[in-house]
Symmetry: C2
Subunit: 762 residues, 2 copies
């Protein structure tokens, strides 16, 4: 890491909300109490696919203590996070499409009454055949989960082609084809989904566990048929998102509808089982890869087929589909690439965005596939990656504008740290090392709805006592975005980030930031904050220069002191400088915004590739495989991640460690599945296994800095791209340990044993 | 009232916080709950004057459940609302000066434990003679309440002289001298004083029932010895101030000190008795007036002596003293004026600011005095006032710059409404009418600490959904300042005020407004808000004009529609226009500030007179006097008030009605007195009588508009100046009813009977 002239950037900072969280001061949504609040509960479908013939709420309404019941017909307008995939109702109207789909909402004085009322609602269902397998969904024309699917139950097919793929394969010395399956996982945030709605005086206020207050704001306006300026959405402290709180949900509308109906606040708290039903987790992907290479490992062409099991609704699925095709090419140079992807509907909870969204399945598949090619050709998996590595300041064939790229450094550092040279192929049987690469977006170039507005805006207001407050719509979901904003503002204003206040994620008080998804916040809100802070600094610089009679360029702010550099003894405290500025006639205030570059480009015309900047990474794992039990133990996981610039090493390392933990759970433990009737197989944290601290190896983050020219201080994303490579690194290490290739994740002990048995029989 | 081109100004608007208040959504300070909050209580002196020889807290600290005890020595820095009168400690150190003065603070798990701990604190007092009478305070050199008093117990003497007073008296045809006494009243807000302090991570947050968050912010910084940027002061919804929450108080510091000491949130809720002890109510005034007039009633000279009983500390007293001298001259033309005022310390709770601050006592005295002169000369009290009335666009001899003045119109309308011509001197014995005039400031030209910064700043942020949020430090204390801000912003932005959000009185999120005192908020925050809203409108106008291709001057906003006036069919909704503006690269935002004019002037050089604008008023009362019981019943009270422009008639009439109710309580019921030992005579709302709705007559507000050139839309103050004239109007009506003059307020039935008896004996 380069030494920098920074005061705070690059040094470890505790999160600014840390003390509030450990003392209990932090207010999560369920901590907010309004007098007279009713308990909201939702009745959910027990069937995976059925028509609703009738709903009789008369007995439930007659139950003392029941204040309101709402049904789908009370809010018939469709919603969905993507404008091109608005296919959901707040409550099912004519049909249910998965087990757990909400069909009615009840508000009652207490939870017991609400639950009792749910039992008294009589729903007459007519059962339909349930499609649970995506391959079946591809062809069953007789069963339409959504009427608008033109072919069977296909939501969308996406095909991309760049370069001459056929020529590429013709030029190859070797071609290999593999199929992979990456199963579903769910987010499992510790805080379940909670909404508190309060309709008063023609205005709605919704406190909700959301990663995207602005999109919830827009969706509420649409579905509730109320102008946005009568709706306020607030995200209180949030206990984990991971993508699972990244779109508007049924319960948010239902809480609002109930509150509007009975004129009292209504709170809905999801049980853990309901979180599993709400889902929107990782899409199961059935993938086929075909790659042509030269003898030396240089890739000549790649073809990728992907079948995504979308579950019952659109959710983020079109983005998943697109990302799965587009991001596969990171971090390698491909001269020719063809993608054919299909997302189908099945009668399961909808899949959506989850950390590493779109990239994780294809990453797993391609990185294992690449190792197999290397093995076939007798090449070193590290070398084949180095040979094909993307470079900075290039354009990929699929139109991704690569500004900074630290992939080669990541490969080198991860290899060195794991002891690649000494260990690969040289460890005793049962132990092995593996390696994989990856890359991810730093936010999306396009908002979810097309518009020319900034993707993030920041207002900074300065109290005459010197207190600095940053206002931004960015949604801190535990990843530390508030702390990032404080750090950026603090650096520019020469004030300890611990003293900066951040007000975020409240549509009434903060300007729009599009939300916490696609790893956009540090890059985009960071840049907006930088711009706003520079504007504040400019105002202070002007008045101080005038007051001191020194050139404006000489004015510097550091450690709370504003001085004329080179002019001895001339200085003000920051607070004194603020007083000078405020004495111009109004309080000190400035704004900044960030809009991704619009440089044209071939794809979609709305930007260059999906993102303004890409992170890169290489992970190396060392594993122990127990051939008796099939149990795989990850001993070490080295994660080298190119995050552009390390703003806060404590936060960045935490993000990488968290992402790796997520990846290790995903490769070895987690599996979100349904039974043959569409019921959840394991809808509790007892049954759905996520790794605890005791299950995790030493995770060794290595922060690689490529200094992105457009990132705030050079920073890029950090918390999502650092998940993907962990999975194939472990799978590749298993091969190094015991010589088996595993193409289906998660890797169960049973699968390991079966593969070992098959290998022995060969 | 003129017809105006306004959409919202001048029409009745419900308060924007009204629904929250009636539903219980509104969060008062005591409604805020933090986990682990301790109960804070204060030990108070039982003595009016005593030295503290020793305080032993060992037994109290040993009580299980007691978490912290603080004493005066823990915060030895003096504070006080006025920088020239910082004479208080958070807790008494060496000496107590009134019954109820806090000497120790305790934080404990629950109230019972805290109260038990108070009993276990052993304070060794050495009693000193208590001075309870202000005349005694003037001369007792042997007993010094404060060591810094140079003469006896005088805090300050103020003398003013304008014109040639001796010549004025020499030119008079008639000279009259009277003495008056106006007793103390207290504020009696329904919400008692409450503070919740939370010291975390080196930062202090204080939620408190304050009218002046900014001054509390400054005082906390000083006394806690913490920089302002580590302190946040928030005023939640507030249940009435009336001046009684207008300065930093002991309990605010003590809550903070306790929280800092034990690292947990601490809440102090005053009992009603403690509110009486905290006091800061109306100064008792012993007044002597001497006036020279021509035969026709034209005033030639006025001399005014005022002895103010300040109680034990400075508080706002120097302002009270100054206002009592300066504001007496409103609303009359005085060719020569001399004021000699003294504020003394006594061993009673400090007096401070109360609605009509400084003006009420002198107003009572002068208006009755003027009626006596009229009676002596056989003049009509209405006519003598008309003859001497101030005019607009003049400068008074004591340097008050009168911009607008509707006093003559007030006199005329009040007289007409009460039936002056038909009733004065013509009603049956026992019934009579009386009349009085008045005037008041619209905010102070000087901040309480001298500085060149704006007295009020407003930031306006606009969400891309069209939602408008006004940020302002102004403290809504029930008077409706938040609604005023919404109305001003709504008028300029063409949006219903009911849809405007106001975030106020939070030092972290809102720019400084100096607070709710001296009737400054509508004038100053209103002007700041107007400026900010005009800047927002300007930005919208520019982008809309460019987009529509129409001249910028043609762009108008009304009812949520932005259009080119005269360009048919060319319009956007407000939200669409905001999107256009935000598409320029950052969220729509603007700021505005208000600084009073600095026009030089003879007095203090810091402005022209105390205020940028003055309200005027005339009240007329009709009373019934029961000569058997001495009970005076006010039958009607007509209050004509020149408020410049009526922004919101509902609010303005409410303010006038409330002020009159306050005045009627003050003239007939309320009396805040102490026993011979300095104990409160009636420290409960059972004993301290304030008028209920049933005690009040028909109050008839008449809003007179003089369109002040510098007020927001022409508005001036409304809620304080409309108190003063009620008192003398009633007293003068009693004379008309039964022929007695009463010089001491409140007017008790006993005093009426005594005067009647004296009158009969004459």
């Amino acid at each position: 890491m380069k030494t920098t002239p920074f005061n705070y950037i690059g040094k470890p900072h505790l999160r600014i909300d840390g003390v509030a969280k450990v003392t209990g001061d932090a207010q999560y949504t369920d901590d907010i109490h309004l007098p007279g609040t009713l308990v909201g509960k939702m009745l959910r479908s027990p069937h995976a696919h059925a028509l609703i013939r009738n709903i009789d709420v008369s007995k439930a309404l007659a139950l003392p203590g029941v204040k309101a019941i709402v049904l789908g017909k009370d809010a018939p307008i469709l919603f969905g996070i993507l404008p091109r995939a608005e296919d959901e109702n707040a409550l099912a109207i004519d049909k249910v499409r998965y087990v757990g789909e909400p069909v009615a909402g009840v508000a009652a004085f207490d939870e017991r009454t609400a639950l009792e009322a749910l039992k008294l609602i009589e729903v007459e269902y007519e059962l339909l055949p349930a499609i649970l397998d995506p391959h079946e969904a591809l062809t069953r024309e007789d069963v339409k989960i959504h009427h608008f699917s033109e072919v069977a139950n296909i939501e969308r097919r996406a095909t991309l082609e760049f370069g001459n793929v056929d020529e590429g394969f013709a030029a190859a010395d070797y071609i290999r084809e593999d199929t992979f399956y990456k199963g579903a996982i769910t987010h499992a945030p510790i805080e379940t989904h909670v909404a508190l709605a309060n309709y008063r005086d023609g205005k709605m206020t919704l406190w909700t566990t959301t990663q995207v207050p602005h999109y919830v704001h827009k969706a509420l306006s649409r579905v509730l048929e109320m102008p946005m300026d009568r709706i306020r959405v607030i995200k209180p402290t949030l206990g984990g998102g991971f993508g699972g709180k990244g779109e508007p949900f049924s319960f948010e509308f239902v809480a609002c509808l109930l509150s509007r109906k009975c004129g009292r606040p209504v709170k809905i708290v999801h049980t853990r089982e309901e979180v599993f039903m709400t889902h929107r987790g990782r899409h199961p992907m059935h993938m086929k890869l075909r790659t042509g290479v030269k003898k030396d490992g240089t890739i000549t062409a790649l073809e990728f087929h992907n079948l995504l099991d979308g579950g019952s609704y659109g959710s983020y699925g079109l983005v998943t589909l697109y990302y799965s095709g587009q991001l596969l090419t990171l971090p390698y140079i491909l001269p020719a690439y063809r993608f054919d992807g299909v997302r189908v509907f099945t009668n399961k909870p909808a899949c959506g965005a989850l950390r590493g969204h779109g990239g994780v399945g294809p990453r797993f598949a391609f990185e294992v596939h690449l190792d197999r090619i290397a093995a076939d050709l007798g090449l070193d998996p590290l070398e084949i990656r180095q040979k094909n590595s993307l470079k900075a300041n290039t354009m990929t064939l699929n139109d991704l504008r690569i500004t900074s790229c630290g992939f080669e450094e990541c490969l080198e550092k991860a290899g060195k740290a794991i002891g690649w040279e000494e260990k690969r192929g040289k460890l005793p049987r049962g132990r092995g090392v593996g390696l994989a690469g990856g890359g991810y977006v730093s936010g999306a170039n396009n908002a979810i709805y097309f518009n020319p507005m900034p993707h993030s805006s920041v207002n900074i207001s300065v109290d005459r006592g010197g207190g600095v407050t940053v206002f931004c719509g960015a949604s801190d979901i535990g990843q530390g975005s508030d702390t990032m904003l404080a750090l950026v503002a603090g650096e520019i204003l020469g004030i300890s980030p611990a003293l900066i206040r951040v007000i975020s994620a409240d549509t009434d008080t903060t300007p729009v930031d599009l939300g916490s998804y696609s790893s956009r916040v540090t890059f985009m809100a960071g840049n907006a904050c930088r711009t706003a802070a520079l504007a504040v600094r400019e105002k202070i610089g002007s008045v101080v220069a005038a007051q001191l009679g020194v050139p404006k360029e000489s004015v510097v702010i550091a450690d709370g002191i504003v001085s004329g550099q080179g002019y001895a003894g001339m200085s003000f405290t920051f607070a004194q400088a603020v007083v000078l500025a405020e004495s111009q006639g109004m309080a000190l205030y400035a704004s900044g915004g960030y809009t991704p570059p619009k440089l044209g480009g071939k794809y979609r015309g709305a930007g260059v590739g999906p993102s303004p900047a890409y992170s890169f990474g290489a992970h190396a794992a060392e594993v122990q495989v127990d051939e008796e039990t099939g149990i795989v133990t990850v001993l070490r996981l080295v994660a080298a991640h190119d995050l552009g610039r390390t703003l806060n090493p404590l936060a960045a390392e935490g993000q990488v460690e968290g992402a790796v933990a997520n990846g290790l759970g995903e490769v070895l433990m987690e599996s979100h599945t349904n039974t043959g009737s569409g019921q959840h197989s394991c809808p509790s944290l007892l049954e759905y296994k996520i790794p605890t601290m005791l299950d995790l190896p030493d995770i060794e983050p290595i922060l690689v800095e490529s200094f992105d020219p457009e990132g705030p201080f050079g920073a890029k994303e950090c918390g999502e791209g650092s998940l993907g490579p962990s999975i194939p690194a472990v799978v590749n290490a298993i091969y190094d340990a015991v010589g088996i290739w595993l193409h289906d994740a998660p890797i169960t002990p049973e699968a390991v044993l079966a593969a070992l048995k098959k290998e022995r029989m060969r």
